[in-house]
């Protein structure tokens, strides 16, 4: 049974440590297994490790699964785990940051491994769920014990060959033309799918992807463009499946002393009332209905419900009320509004440009003159990183750890000591700083979650960001194809069945 499917992006490389893209990670999951994996409800469950425990606050011990074989027939042992962990810890490994707090892995016996972290680290399992295990013998034979390194000009065979323990084997890999997977009959787990072959073809153009589905050349497209869902579901023999994604779209606000749009004047965004006014002025309901075609989920907080740190009480968007907004602006001393720049990508998030035009138009009604500029992601994100924007669009999915801590440590903390990597708007809140640092080492899960919720409440109350909505994940399939959807947008075809 063959499943042919397409997505707009391609697998960048078959080397799991040489990239940081969640799409490629999700694809390689069909070939490789991690020590722990996420199950049907995204809960963490044993994979190549059957059990684990913390022997010291900074040392975790993993019992490995026996009788597991790699695709090339080699047995899976602790050596493979150690070699793999060493490989990702290499300075040349692109994905090294995904395991940033791990210091080393040590073999205890053939089926036991210790992993040592820098101090207590509650999210180790979350991280390990994205770390795939490679075959040591194969790496040795192919000179791939270290990942390719651009700085030294080393390339490895691992970029184009994937030998894992996963449910499928790679039959062929042709960038931009397609990758073919065939089922691995010797997989250690009992398959829940009925596929023998997966033909994956990247199709960048949305319209072409839809057309190819409708013409019967594909069985599944993921994602399906929002504006075409209507057409697909009304076509005979096809259906749309959808679910809100973890990715949350928000507006980041400039907290520097001056706005780019009003050099030499005080930054109005520093005033909480102004920020609240901006929130009040956005008609989230209409954006959801018109721009997102009723598929998105409006949110008032910075994480999605399935993610640790989410709390219903935080999830309260400010009501749409233009008059209230105007009143707040007058109170803040801007009865005639003010000028700002609004920057958005136009090829990153779902209907991003359209959303921004709508916001600019809504703000204009409240007196906020936003000069909108949209551009491609390649130039947009570097400029955002450099903090060149006043108001800009940010999307955050908390991946790969899938934990609210990611929002705190990247978006809400000051840029120092490894924190605040994406907080280019320079929002600083001492309370959040403190809570974040405490949560980082808190191994008690309930306590940790309370801290996350508390910090996110502070962010909500001070309008650190203006959250807009959760993007939808919409896929389309032909009848007879059953694929479960996940909010992390991973395609997990080992759960898929076709008729």
């Amino acid at each position: 049974k063959t499943l042919r499917w397409a997505s707009p992006t391609d697998i960048t490389t078959l080397d799991p440590y040489a990239h940081t893209e969640s799409f490629t990670t999700s694809m390689l999951h069909h070939v490789f297994d991690p020590l722990v994996r996420r199950g049907r409800t995204l809960e963490l469950e044993p994979a190549l490790a059957v059990s684990w425990k913390t022997v010291k606050p900074d040392t975790w011990r993993f019992e490995l699964r026996k009788n597991v074989k790699f695709h090339n027939g080699n047995p899976f042992t602790a050596d493979d785990v150690v070699a793999s962990i060493n490989r990702i810890l290499d300075p040349g490994a692109r994905a090294r940051g995904n395991l940033a707090t791990v210091v080393k892995a040590e073999k205890v016996d053939d089926y036991t491994v210790d992993i040592v972290t820098k101090g207590p680290y509650p999210l180790l399992l979350n991280d390990l769920a994205g770390i795939y295990i490679l075959d040591k013998e194969w790496m040795e034979a192919n000179n791939a014990l270290k990942p390719g390194n651009i700085a030294t000009g080393v390339t490895t065979a691992a970029s184009t060959t994937a030998i894992g323990t996963g449910p499928f084997k790679v039959e062929s890999y042709k960038p931009d033309a397609g990758t073919v997977f065939v089922v691995n009959p010797d997989w250690w787990d009992k398959p829940q799918h009925n596929l023998t072959r997966i033909e994956f073809k990247p199709v960048k153009s949305d319209a072409t992807r839809v057309a190819a589905l409708l013409s019967g050349e594909l069985d599944l497209i993921a994602p399906a463009p929002l504006q075409d869902l209507q057409r697909i579901s009304s076509s005979q023999g096809f259906k749309v499946i959808e679910e809100p994604s973890l990715r949350l779209i928000m507006l980041s606000l400039n907290f520097r002393p001056e706005l780019k749009a009003m050099p030499g004047q005080k930054n109005p965004l520093l005033d909480l009332k102004v920020r609240q006014a901006m929130w009040h002025a956005i008609d989230l309901e209409t954006i959801k209905k018109r721009v997102m075609r009723d598929k998105s989920r409006i949110t008032g907080t910075l994480v999605a419900p399935p993610v640790p740190g989410y709390a219903k009480e935080n999830d309260q968007p400010l009501a749409y009320d233009t008059n209230k907004a105007k009143q707040l602006l007058s109170e803040a001393g801007y009865p005639n509004g003010f000028k700002t720049k609004l920057n958005c990508p136009n090829d990153r998030y779902i209907n991003d440009e359209q959303t921004c035009v709508a916001i600019a138009s809504m703000w204009a009604k409240a007196g906020i003159q936003a000069e909108l500029q949209t551009e491609s992601r390649a130039t947009y994100f570097p400029r955002q990183d450099r903090g060149e924007f006043d108001v800009s669009m940010v999307g955050w999915a908390t991946l790969p750890p899938m934990d609210g801590f990611s929002v705190l440590s990247s978006l809400l903390t000051e840029q120092k000591e490894g924190y605040g990597g994406s907080n280019s708007s320079t929002y600083i809140n001492p309370q959040i700083e403190e809570l974040t640092r405490k949560a980082a080492v808190e191994l008690d899960e309930t306590k940790r979650r309370t801290m996350l919720v508390e910090a996110l409440k502070a962010a909500h109350d001070t309008v650190a960001y203006i959250p807009l909505h959760q993007q939808p994940v919409a896929w389309a399939v032909r009848d007879g194809v059953e694929v479960p959807q996940f909010p992390d947008e991973y395609v997990r075809l080992w759960f898929a069945t076709v008729k």
Binding site: Q230, V357, S361, A364, S376, T379
Partner: protein
């Protein structure tokens, strides 16, 4: 309006057939409408406060579900499509026309020089051309806008966008003109009439402009009338990449691009009307261009 009224008479006097007059009039009307957009458009699509997302994607007034306020319907943001098109045509014509003019002028000049002098001059110009050709318009546009921003800090504003776009497109396009003109110039330079001009003692500049140029214009006219369409569409691409017009001031090309996303879902008018406007404009310009080109050849001048 005076020129408008008197133009058909003028055209018949110089022997233009009726189709050319019609085409010229059409082109003039489109240009005039776009120039007068701020007066004749029912709404101001650049005024962000004036449109409402709730009105988005309303079909044209003449269809069953149409809304009489919006003759040609609305776009995905609730802008009146007709107004957006009128304003958009202004951008497209200014940028497309400007880019074609600039590219043609630059290309023809360099092509004449290369073809006439040959040797080192030729090699230099043609190799510069090769360098330019090695970059797609997208990258050149990024470069131009980047440099413009660096040199004039104010250039990031929307007012500068058209200038940057014109330069970016023209910098890429001139090569095509230069190479075509060069080829034709090489042939013409060997002909007796050019030799005669040399014998008179005319300086190269004058020989090139007065004698050779009219004889090599025919492919230039063909290319530039065709490139008008290409330039309008290139503008849309560049705007999409962020080096052009902001999305709050869409051009015809941008409207087509946006509309294209909705064609599948049965919202055909957003793409169709701007595309029609563009096609009509291009057709009209080409018809006039053909006729002009024929008039350049005195042998074809007399009405057949």
């Amino acid at each position: 309006m005076k020129t408008l009224a008197s133009s058909p008479g003028f055209l018949t006097r110089i022997g233009a057939p009726i189709s050319v007059i019609a085409a010229a009039l059409l082109a003039l009307v489109i240009v005039a409408c776009s120039i007068l957009a701020s007066w004749i458009a029912p709404y101001d699509p650049t005024n962000l406060a004036s449109f409402d997302l709730m009105n988005a994607e309303l079909p044209p007034a003449f269809t069953a579900e149409g809304d009489s306020r919006f003759i040609l319907g609305t776009d995905n943001q609730g802008r009146d499509l007709l107004s957006a098109m009128l304003y958009g045509a202004r951008v497209s014509i200014a940028i497309g026309g400007g880019a074609v003019l600039l590219a043609a002028t630059l290309g023809v000049t360099l092509g004449l020089l290369a073809g006439y002098f040959g040797g080192r001059v030729d090699a230099l110009i043609m190799r510069i051309g090769d360098v330019i050709l090695s970059f797609p318009t997208i990258l050149l546009a990024l470069l131009v806008s980047g440099i413009a921003r660096a040199v004039f800090p104010g250039a990031a504003t929307a007012e500068w966008a058209p200038v940057i776009l014109i330069c970016a497109i023209a910098i890429h396009e001139w090569v095509q003109y230069a190479r075509t003109v060069r080829a034709a110039t090489m042939v013409e330079t060997a002909k007796d009439y050019v030799r005669a001009a040399k014998v008179i003692g005319l300086p190269p500049r004058r020989i090139m402009l007065r004698h050779i140029l009219p004889n090599v214009m025919s492919p230039v006219l063909v290319i530039s009338t065709i490139n008008l369409a290409a330039a309008v569409l290139t503008e849309a691409t560049l705007s999409f990449l962020g080096v052009g017009m902001p999305p709050t001031y869409p051009s015809l090309g941008t409207l087509i691009r946006i509309g294209n996303e909705f064609v599948f879902s049965g919202i055909w008018w957003i793409a169709l009307f701007p595309a029609l406007a563009l096609v009509i404009l291009v057709l009209a310009v080409n018809v006039v261009g053909d006729w002009l080109r024929d008039r350049f050849n005195p042998k074809l001048r007399v009405k057949r």
